[in-house]
Each structure stands twice: as C-alpha cells, then as structure tokens.
C-alpha cells in the first residue's frame, strides 16, 4: 500500500522523524483557514500518488490568504497525469539551505536491505544514479545485524553532507531505518531531506510503501486504507470490497484465472492470438463458489466485456470446487457474456463432469489454454 505524502508524514512523525507542521485540506476555505493558523508563508501541495507534481503546478507557495485562496482554487480539482487532486497538504514553508536524499528498501538480489544517501537530493535521484553514481552513498545492511549507530555514522560521513547536518542526519537515518523495519514498510524515501537555514535537518517529503502482508499486525493502518481505495477505478473498488486481486484493463476478454502467474500468462496468450484482456483477475488458491461468484459479478460490471475466459489449473484450487462455483455464479449473476472455460489439474475430471451438465452456447469448455484463448477471442470478435 502506497501512502500519500501527508500520510507518509504522519507515519514518519510516529517514528519521531521531524516533518514541517501542517495538515490536510479538501476545500479552498479549509486551505485558507488552515494557512491562517499555520502562519505564512505556507506551501500548498497536491496529494496524488504520482511524480512530477511540482512541474504540473501542483505545489505552490502562498505568502498571504489571498494567494492561498488563489493557489488552492487552482490545485484542488486539477488532474496530474490522470490523477485528480481531491486533497492538498498545507505546511509552513521551509527556508532551505541544502537538499539531500535518503531511502531504505530491499535489495532483492543481495537479499539484504539497501540504504541510499546523497548530498544531491531534491531532484530525480534516478538521474543522479545514472549520471553521477558516485554521488549516492550505498550501504547494504544485514537484517539480522540491523543498522548500528557506528555504521550509520560512517555511512553519513561518507556522503559529504554539510558538517552542520551530520549529527542530526545520523539520528534521522536510524529513526528512518526503524520506520522501515519495525514499521513494516517495503520502501521509505525522503526526497528532499533538508538542512534549513537555521540549521535543522528534517523531512520535506515522504514516500512510504507499506507491506500489505504485514497489515495483520498493524491495525493502525486501517486509517490509511480508506483513502487509498477511493483513488482507484470503479471496477477495482468493487473488486477490493470483495477481496479480489483485480486490475482493470481496456480490452474485451474478461479473464479469471487462479494464480498470478497463470493469470498473467492468460493475458499474454489472449494477446498473442489477437485479442485483448479486459482485466487481470487472480482468484488465488482455495477459490470456492463464493469467490468465483464474486469474480463473475465484478467482470459483469465491465461494459467492454464480450466474453469471459476462465482458466483454472488445479493445485490448491480444486477443479470441482471451481466448477461448482461457476454453476453457482451463473445462477447468481445475470451474465452479459458467454463463458469459455478450461479446467485442468486436481479434480479436473470431476470439475468437467459438473460443467458438462450445464454446457450451452453460453457455457463452453475447451481443452488447452491456447485453444480456450482462441475460442474466447473469436467470440469477442463476433466470429
């Protein structure tokens, strides 16, 4: 789960990482009231989960109430790379002396944590990495050992920051490391982390991606989730409510498969035989009648869908369970498009026998993945 900047700042504050005083606002009047109470100058920042906000005019400084009203009016409702701005974060403007970059993530090749620190923050760090890799201090941290104070100090010392910033940065990176590990984040990134003209080091931005698998031990994350869902498309919203792994696309072949790998492969195969997928939908392991019914319900809301391809290979998911689910689904959902079904693997014979009793021009069985994809694409194209 990717957090908005304001959520990231709230998250950082829990780990005692300094962020500018600020709050969220949803209307122009709210922005002005908030800015008046914070004191000018303020920065008004669009809350969207996409880069390039500044260039798009989504970040503005206001020196008085009139300017705050003007900028808030422009920013609220604007679209940045297709993301509509529903909220802004308003904070006291900072007097910036220097801009740095710091982050922690997992290095999947090394199977250890990767810390990156640079004296050249504030701009696209990938550009810095490309043009001047020496400007980024990289550190690998063994999760068993953690980030010790000595290691943190040596790492910061090597990054060539302003000497005034060093002690505070050593403390900040250790807090950020805890926000990464204890907080169960996949990624924590501050760009820029600034040294202010009055000599303070703090986070001016916050990029945090939380590990969904750890949600069970973080009930406090529930507050973040509500906002994130509202950002997606309608089909995805419904799918999320029903607990399905669904991604909406714009083709005409609805896809239901079990396992992320098989679902991706089904999309690829549909494309290869000349069709296009309307969605990615992984019903995962242990899918039962309820899950299949939910999956069909979600796909049924998509007006582009002309045919639904169900591709099941039984391992965790048993073929007879899926077949019963399909039979239930047909009863429960008024399907707008025919089904092409391919079932193999565990209990596939039983599954096919169940489907056999319900076969028609609306419920079609195919033997291989390739032939099922061909059949589905032919139907989608009206052949």
């Amino acid at each position: 789960m990717d957090l908005f900047e304001y959520q990231g700042k709230q998250y950082f504050a829990r780990f005692d990482i300094s962020v500018p005083t600020g709050d969220i606002a949803r209307t122009v009047d709210e922005v002005v009231t908030l800015a008046n109470s914070i004191g000018y100058p303020v920065v008004i920042k669009a809350q969207v989960q996409v880069g390039g906000r500044g260039k798009a005019g989504g970040i503005k400084i206001a020196n008085n109430a009139e300017e705050a009203r003007f900028h808030a009016g422009n920013i609220l409702g604007m679209s940045i790379k297709g993301h509509v701005v529903h909220m802004v974060w308003v904070e006291r403007a900072s007097d910036i002396a220097e801009e740095y970059y710091v982050s922690f993530t997992l290095d999947r090749s090394a199977k250890q944590y990767l810390g990156m620190l640079s004296a050249r923050g504030g701009i696209d760090i990938e550009q810095v990495a490309e043009q001047d890799p020496g400007a980024i201090q990289i550190i690998h941290i063994n999760p068993v050992d953690g980030l010790t104070a000595d290691t943190a100090r040596a790492w910061v010392a090597a990054a060539g920051l302003n000497p005034i910033a060093v002690d505070q940065t050593v403390a900040l990176v250790q807090k950020l490391y805890r926000a990464f590990t204890d907080g169960d984040a996949d990624l924590v990134e501050i760009n820029p982390m600034i040294l202010s003209k009055d000599g303070r080091v703090y986070a001016l931005d916050a990029k945090v991606s939380l590990d969904d698998s750890a949600a069970g031990r973080h009930p406090e994350w529930d507050a973040f989730g509500v906002v994130t869902v509202a950002a997606g498309d309608e089909r995805e919203k419904l799918a999320k409510e029903k607990g399905l792994q669904y991604i909406g696309l714009d083709g005409s072949v609805g896809i239901i498969a079990n396992g992320a790998g098989l679902a991706m492969s089904t999309l690829d195969t549909v494309k290869q035989v000349g069709g296009s997928a309307a969605n990615f939908l992984d019903i995962g392991g242990g899918a039962n009648a309820e899950v299949v019914t939910n999956a069909l319900t979600v796909i049924n809301t998509d007006p582009n869908v002309k045919v639904i391809l169900i591709n099941i290979f039984g391992g965790i998911t048993r073929g007879d369970e899926v077949a019963r689910g399909i039979v239930e689904g047909i009863k429960n959902v008024q399907l707008r498009a025919p089904l092409v079904i391919r079932i193999d693997g565990t209990n596939a014979v039983e599954g096919r026998a169940i489907l056999k009793q319900h076969e028609s021009d609306q419920v079609i069985s195919e033997e291989t993945m390739l032939s099922a994809a061909r059949r589905a694409v032919a139907i989608a194209e009206g052949k």
Binding site: Y113, D186, D344
Partner: protein, 292 residues
C-alpha cells in the same frame, strides 16, 4: 535421481492438524511420499490418519527420522516455524505459506545463512516440489506429473503445473518440478535449481518459468550462459502486464525498463535458452531442444 527430494525423503508436516495441512499432507502421503510426522505442541501424542503428531520438529526428527519439513501454517507463525525446523535439524524446508511479511522473510533468510548454512529453504509462498514417482511435498497436482528426465523450475505454482502438463502430454516425464515462489526473498533461487539440475545425471533438460519483476531471471541467464550444458527452455509471464502495476505476486512489480518480460526474454535468448511465447509451446520446444 532427482533434486532436493526423492524416495528417501521423510517429511514432517508443520500444520498437519489444520484443515489445509491435513488435506495436502494426506494427499502427499497418498502419492507415496513418506509423511512420517506432524507437529502441534497441543496435540502431541495424537495422530492424523495414522501419522503421529509430535510437539516439535526436533521430536519428529529424533522419533520419526524426519529429514525434511513441509510448513503449512498461518503467516503469523511461519517465520518461527521455519526457524524451529532449522533448529530441529531438518536439512530441507518447504514453506508454502503466503503473506509472510517482507521483513520476516529477510530476517529468516539471513539467519539461516548465518546459523544454518547447510539447510535449504524452498519458498515461502511457493507451490512446493514433486519428484515424480518418489516424493511430493506441497500443492503440485500429481495427476499431471510423470517420472522422467526434464527438470522444471518456476516462480508461479499454476504455471509449474501447466508446464508439467504440457510435457506429460508430449510423453516427456519430469525429474523434479520445483516451485520457488514469487515472494521478495525466496530461500531457493532459479540459479540454485539450475545448478542442481545441471549436476543431476538423470536430468536431460530444464524448463524455467519466470515472470515480470525483480532481476532473478537476468541473473539466471548469466548463469545459463556460463555453466549450463543441458538445454534450457524458458517462458516468462507478464508480457502484457501494464507497467507499474502489481499483479498479485509481491515480486511481480515492473518499474521502468528493469524486470520487464521483454528484457528477461532477451537476456535468456542471448544466453542460449529457447524462449517460448506461451505455455502450450513448452512441450514441443523441449522435444526439439532435446534432439538438439
């Protein structure tokens, strides 16, 4: 021969007394796998259809001779279960549990590296492993497998079953089918499996099934180029995956040009592997590759 598990593998099931553990433990035993024990501290002394339940993995090792474990417990308990297994003395740990937090995975992997360097972890969030005719641990549907000489290694479980099926339809049996899982910190990598298949005299060729995200396939390509004498037929899922979206597997994340299906396919082709465009082609391509 086969890799990692064979007819001498004696399995303890951590989670045997749960509904999923019972279903798959018994199913694996019905295939002929030596399932010699289960664990549950509260149910020690009981049995599941004749399989004795012990309090710990250590007991299952000393009392029942277990040398391998099958972990099928809820994610909140899985990291501890892996460490219990290593400390209990099994040499091979198969963990199918999904949704283990990334930081738990990273810690466990590095703890094993440091304290139990000879213990192999397969998974987590993997389908398990089958050496047809000898041993099946995990979710692999044995109905589609056939004893033979092709090794399969796959991140995705369903694509492993799918490719097993495509080979069997062509009359090509398998030495071992290994699901390494799609999680961020897999205990066993593509390279580990390629190395084991290369060393296994029974294995004549290898099917490798990757997917978008990460750099494991690219690393495997380097390994294939430098070390593999046996033919490798590869397939990569996710050609049509939209950039920047997660498609279920924690690992299947595409950012920029790194980790794309096209990039992986190119790297594998350049390394001398045959690259299939869809799973249905795998059987034919392997048949041709063996004729070489």
């Amino acid at each position: 021969m086969a890799i990692f598990v064979d007819q001498n593998t004696k399995v303890v099931v951590q989670g045997l007394t749960g509904s999923q553990g019972r279903f798959y433990g018994l199913r694996n035993r019905a295939y002929g796998t030596q399932v010699v024990a289960g664990t549950n501290p509260k149910k020690a002394g009981t049995d599941v259809e004749g399989i004795p339940v012990y309090a710990s993995v250590a007991d299952a090792v000393s009392e029942a001779g277990a040398n391998t474990t099958f972990i099928i417990v809820p994610s909140a308990f899985a990291a501890d279960a892996i460490m219990e297994a290593a400390e209990g003395g099994v040499g091979f740990i198969v963990c199918v549990t999904e949704h283990i937090p990334m930081h738990d995975q990273a810690r466990v992997y590095n703890l094993l590296q440091r304290d139990f360097p000879n213990t192999r972890l397969l998974g987590p969030n993997c389908a398990g492993i089958i050496s047809p005719g000898k041993c099946n641990i995990g979710f692999n549907p044995p109905e589609v497998a056939k004893e033979g000489s092709i090794g399969i290694v796959s991140r995705s479980g369903t694509l492993a079953y799918q490719s097993t099926y495509e080979l069997t339809r062509k009359g090509l049996g398998q030495s071992s089918v290994v699901g390494i899982g799609g999680d961020p910190v897999p205990g066993t990598s593509f390279i580990d499996c390629l190395q084991a298949f290369e060393a296994d005299p029974e294995t004549k060729g290898v099917i490798m099934i990757g997917e978008i995200g990460g750099t494991q396939e690219e690393e495997a390509a380097d390994y294939i180029k430098a070390n593999m004498t046996k033919p490798v037929v590869a397939y990569i899922a996710g050609v049509t995956a939209p950039a920047g979206r997660k498609m279920g597997h924690a690992g299947a994340i595409v950012t920029g040009n790194k980790g794309t299906a096209a990039g992986k396919m190119k790297a594998l082709e350049a390394a001398g592997a045959v690259v299939a465009q869809n799973p249905t082609q795998l059987g034919d391509l392997m048949e041709q590759a063996l004729k070489g």
